[in-house]
């Protein structure tokens, strides 16, 4: 039970971390800020916030933020990256879940 709670807390923490990175990348790439960003916000693909190069910047800055916060070096590279439906980068929630899996593998 406590493991599940820890995992849930970690996902929430990752959502927040991703939102911080999303805001940084939007600022750096002059992408107009939208309304408040929710975990279900589309990052990439139809109605997504980012085109592919800005997505690259988001993923690399997120890897670094994860490394600093969780002290694990993970690579978020994934062969499904550019898939509309299965990409782990499609929404903030999907990305948080994917990152949590990789962090758990590293530990």
């Amino acid at each position: 039970m406590s493991d599940q709670r820890n995992e849930a807390q970690e996902i929430v923490g990752l959502n927040e971390l991703i939102i911080e990175c999303v805001n940084d990348v939007r600022e750096q790439n002059d992408i107009a800020p939208g309304a408040d960003i929710s975990p279900d916000a589309r990052l990439f693909g139809r109605e997504g916030m980012f085109e592919s190069l800005a997505l690259v910047n988001l993923i690399t800055s997120l890897e670094e933020a994860i490394e600093d916060k969780f002290d694990v070096a993970i690579s978020l590279a994934d062969e499904r990256a550019m898939s509309q439906n299965r990409s782990p980068y499609r929404t903030i929630a999907a990305l948080a879940e994917y990152a949590a899996e990789l962090i758990a593998e590293q530990r």
């Binding site: 190069l53 690399t60 890897e63 670094e64 490394e67 070096a73 993970i74 690579s75 590279a77 590293q106």
Partner: protein, 233 residues
Amino acid sequence: MPSPVTLITGTRKGIGRSLAERYVGLGHAVIGCSRSEPEWTLDGYTHQIADVADEKAARKIVSSIRKAHGRLDNLINNAGIAMMNHSLLTPASAVRDVLETNVLGTFVFCREAAKLMKKNSFGRIVNFSTVAVPMRLEGEAAYVASKAAVVSLTQVLAREFAEYGITVNAVGPTPVQTDLIGAVPAEKIDALLARQAIGRLGTLDDVANAVDFFIRPESGFITGQVLYLGGVG
């Protein structure tokens, strides 16, 4: 200007070791790696044990460079293995080993290094191909194919990384007297040298000179190029 930070793969011996010693001598902070511990140490040089084809190991090495130095200026992808065998006598497992070290290893180190280099909008990546590629050298099918792949990687990554201020080039050395060619019969080496415009073995300095050129700050407008030594190509 802080001293350059330079990552060199395959530094236990041969060309990699010589490049590590050279750049330490020129004041770089040099980080090197190999699959086993080297029999030498040097002030200004840090060694890590890693198989270059292991992407997690590549990630960890670059992560440790970020923590220690906050940046990476140069990556020299020297690690490589050769294989000389008629293709009809070559097992798939040997081909896989060559491709993993030479192609996959080069790819993952380029990828991880570029992530750190792009923060500084500056980077120099030098990959290693070989004159055996333009020579279409018989008896080395897997090795030549892997090093041809390194040329293609170099050319494509040069385009992908250009916007981050990172150049990606390759050196194509001739045979140099190192362990890599130790097992090759002398007459084979002589026949190979006869096909070069300048028919001698390369030296460690010949290779270093080409790497020097690509990593100079002034070489920022040179990318996606392959420099074959000895007048081959």
